[in-house]
């Protein structure tokens, strides 16, 4: 009986996951096939699962006229993602450790101090004035990740992982005379590895996907990230297609091509789609090693 129940349930799980994954995949197939189609066919028939009039023209066009920019965009995105993730994970996990430190009188205060910022924000104008006029982060590489070093949501997530580490471990180390630095670096970081892996993944995605910081702080094309280039294009499409442009001069400005939009989507997502399974394996191995060692 038990085995039969297991099997049906297991099959159900396989199907459930498979169906959901398939639904998630559909738009990508549409985007990839669209980016490989000819503009005229797409314009006439809309999206389809198979490329219509298979052609690499869109990519040729984009790489032909913009190849340097695209490569530079990738490099910028990659360096911001690596620098940002490493520093953000350190800042975040240290803060998370503090708000979970048992017996620390102000841990609630620190937790609230962070949480408060999730609710209240002063708006973009003061933020913009401060970052550009006082911190001088405009048109710098640092400006593209430093403002995001502490994501309160991820900090809480990490704190949650720290909480699940048995308190006895910390206590015994304290009795052995270990200070907070030692406990944090030698015990909590290794034991909280599952959490670290998760929040690094989210930080990496956040930095990779961000277009707000480049939009606000960067005008120098040398610092454009691939995601910002994507945003740039989408913003133009939305503006021009909505007819707002006629407010300026009654001008009729043709928006970028449909195929270019899809190709750009592919170009921003592709690296993640390719790297993710590898990173994931690395992450999963880290988790396994961590728990065996622990």
């Amino acid at each position: 009986m038990a085995i039969r129940e297991n099997r049906t349930l297991l099959i159900f799980f396989y199907v459930f996951i498979g169906v959901f994954a398939a639904i998630c995949l559909i738009p990508f197939i549409l985007a990839v096939s669209g980016s490989l189609s000819s503009e005229a066919k797409i314009a006439a028939n809309g999206y389809s699962f198979l490329p219509q009039g298979l052609t690499l023209d869109t990519y040729k066009f984009m790489f032909g006229s913009k190849s340097d920019e695209i490569i530079r965009g990738y490099l910028n995105s990659a360096s911001i993602t690596v620098l940002g993730t490493v520093s953000a994970v350190l800042v975040t996990s240290a803060y998370a450790y503090v708000i979970t430190a048992k017996g620390f009188r102000f841990r609630g205060a620190f937790a609230f101090f962070a949480y408060f910022t999730m609710l209240f924000s002063g708006g973009t104008l003061p933020w913009y004035i401060l970052t550009t006029k006082y911190y001088h982060l405009n048109d710098t590489l640092a400006g593209l990740f430093v403002p995001y070093l502490l994501n309160v949501f991820l900090m809480y997530l990490q704190a949650n992982y720290f909480k699940s580490i048995p308190h006895e471990v910390v206590e015994s180390a304290q009795i052995d005379g270990a200070g907070h630095y030692l406990i944090f670096f030698r015990i909590m970081l290794p034991l909280g590895r599952v959490g670290l892996v998760t929040i690094s993944l989210f930080y990496a995605l956040q930095f990779w996907n961000d277009f707000f910081l480049p939009l606000m702080l960067v005008t120098d094309e040398k610092l454009f990230t691939i995601q910002y280039m994507m945003y740039y294009m989408m913003a133009n499409i939305q503006f021009l297609a909505s007819g707002n442009a006629s407010r300026i001069s009654g001008a009729l400005i043709a928006p970028p091509l449909e195929t270019a939009k899809l190709a750009m989507t592919c170009l921003t997502v592709l690296p993640i789609a390719i790297l993710y399974p590898f990173l994931q394996r690395y992450f999963v191995r880290g988790i396994v090693v961590g728990s065996v060692k622990g």
Binding site: E39, A40, A43, A44, S65, K66, R105, G108, A109, F112, F113, F116, T124, L125, P126, Y128, I129, L130, T132, K133, Y134, L215, M216, T219, E221, Y231, Y232, M233, A235, N236, I237, Q238, F239, L240, A241, S242, G243, N244, A245, S246, R247, I248, S249, G250, A251, L252, I253, A254, P255, L257, E258
Partner: protein, 525 residues
């Protein structure tokens, strides 16, 4: 108990901290303001008039002795050729002509008239960018634009003679020039014409369109042949159908207010309360039911534009220049496409010009050298040679000109957008543009009158609240009626109640008050 106390203490701590911090930042902010206050003060109010009059006294000649850096903001993106040109030929030219170095900055369109442009203005950065009437009056009331009045004569003499005075007037507020129009093109009757796919018209055996009946016949015939095509690729035909639903010559100041240009008075019309609006809504509802406006238009307006560009739509609101601006988009999908403007039952009613459909540049209030920006705008429209350089690039490298003066572009990279630069004196037509279009274009403004509202700018301070609420009512209740998605008789009474509740009467009364005062003092031409 203990816990509650700590929590209270904590809250107190956080708030004190915030207060302390904001106090600190207040100090630092004031410091910053003081640092940069001199140019701001110089360009605001009385100070600037003083400065300018001394300028004018000193020399009616422009002074370029000090080298300066200027920042020009554009939307869309920079092409490769433009970047090359900007760091070579253009750089040398600007240095030589006005002793300045220009930084060309590009932002996505979403930041136009708000977004980052607003942030840059509000935080007191120095730059210039293009603007429209709405954005101008909003920003001027916040003191964000520099007053450029004193510099026009001295620093932009060529521009002034090459651009119509009406365009200059349109960008004035309280008699001060807050933006400099660049470009001078036939701009009357914007959206009052129907831009038709002439190739389709001829394909179904028609030659011309002169009335609504013709237009609908054109739709029926093309629809019979190509049932997949949509008719009207927009949701607003207020202007275009005006000649059909009224004998007046209406013009709209904004969504809510119209004037009759045929009447010699200062009366403003509450547009939605007129029988003409009812008639218009009925026409649109008919179009919607018939499928001339596709069903999807309710939700997916961007799709209308894509369908138009894909050659899947029959007509669109026209302007004098749209047939040439729009053709490039369509010929990618339909190489044989031709566009032509027609008026429906216009008869002898004069075209209305507002003078505003030329691009104008503002300079931010904080700019240390507003005069040098003005001098730069002058370069854009100084003479044929510079116009060609900014619009088409380098001759024989980026474009060629044939014996008829037609231009052929050798690169697909854009320089400064030609819709922005367009000046009748300098503009060149591409080979594909038919001669009869050029003929029509040249005489486009011949029978135009300047709107009696031209140069009037509304100060919305007293009715900010009402204006915001009316905008809300408009998008939800009025727009669907005006676009014909829902039926006037059923939905209008409720929409009118909403408008009245939002303060329509007060809004119009305030508008009328300001307009009458302005109209009475307007120099009669």
């Amino acid at each position: 108990m203990v816990r509650r106390n700590t929590f209270g203490a904590l809250l107190a701590l956080v708030f004190t901290l915030t207060l302390v911090l904001s106090a600190c930042s207040s100090k630092s902010n004031e410091g910053g303001a003081a640092e940069s206050s001199s140019p701001a003060a110089a360009s605001s109010g009385a100070a600037s008039t003083a400065a300018s009059s001394s300028d004018a006294n000193d020399a009616s000649k422009a002074d370029f002795s000090e080298p300066v850096k200027l920042k020009l903001l554009f939307y869309t993106g920079q092409s490769k050729r433009m970047a090359e040109l900007a760091s070579n030929e253009l750089k040398d030219l600007v240095k030589k002509e006005i002793n300045a170095e220009i930084e060309y900055v590009y932002l996505p369109w979403s930041e136009y008239g708000g977004g980052k442009t607003d942030l840059m203005l509000s935080s007191g950065e120095e730059f210039a960018a293009y603007t429209d009437i709405n954005y101008l009056s909003k920003s001027v009331s916040k003191g964000l634009y520099a007053d450029l009045t004193p510099y026009v004569d001295t620093y932009a003499p060529d521009l002034k003679s090459n651009v119509a005075a009406a365009s200059f007037d349109a960008f004035k507020q309280n008699g001060k020039q807050y933006a400099i129009p660049v470009g001078n093109r036939a701009s009357s009757a914007a959206f009052y014409s129907v831009m038709v796919r002439q190739d389709l018209l001829e394909e179904v055996g028609m030659t011309t369109i002169g009335s609504l009946a013709d237009l609908e016949q054109y739709y029926d015939k093309v629809h019979a042949k190509y049932p997949d095509m949509i008719g009207f690729a927009s949701t607003d035909a207020t202007y275009m159908l005006m000649y059909e639903y009224t004998d007046q010559n209406l013009n709209w100041i904004n969504n809510f207010i119209a004037v009759n240009e045929a009447a010699q008075d200062d009366k403003l019309i509450s547009w939605y309360e007129t029988p003409e609006f009812k008639k218009y809504a009925g026409l649109m509802n008919g179009w919607y039911k018939k499928g001339i406006i596709p069903k999807y238009a309710v939700t997916n307006q961007p799709q209308l534009m894509s369908d138009w560009n894909a050659g899947k739509a029959m007509f669109f609101p026209g302007t004098a220049t749209r047939p040439i601006e729009g053709i490039a988009g369509i010929t990618k999908a339909v190489p044989t496409a031709k566009l032509q403007n027609y008026f429906l039952s216009k008869n002898d009613r004069p075209k209305i010009s507002r003078g505003t459909y030329n691009t104008a540049y503002f300079v931010s209030a904080n700019a240390k050298h507003p005069e040098r920006y003005v001098a730069f705008f002058n370069l854009l429209q100084k003479n044929q040679e510079l116009y060609d350089l900014f619009t088409y690039g380098i001759k024989d490298k980026d474009y060629t000109i044939d014996e008829n003066g037609r231009v052929t572009k050798l690169t697909s990279d854009l320089f400064l957008d030609d819709w922005m630069m367009m000046n009748d004196k300098f503009m060149r037509f591409e080979k594909s543009v038919p001669d009869d279009f050029i003929e029509q274009y040249k005489h486009w403004d011949d029978d135009a009158i300047l709107s009696k509202t031209a140069g009037f700018n509304f100060d919305n301070t007293a009715v900010k609240n009402e204006e915001s609420k009316l905008n809300g009512v408009f998008t939800e209740f009025i727009a669907p009626i005006a676009s014909g998605f829902v039926d006037y008789d059923t939905y209008f009474p409720k929409a009118l109640d909403k408008l009245k509740a939002a303060g329509l009467d007060k809004y119009i009364a305030e508008y009328q008050k300001q307009f009458s005062a302005w109209y009475a003092n307007k120099p009669k031409s």
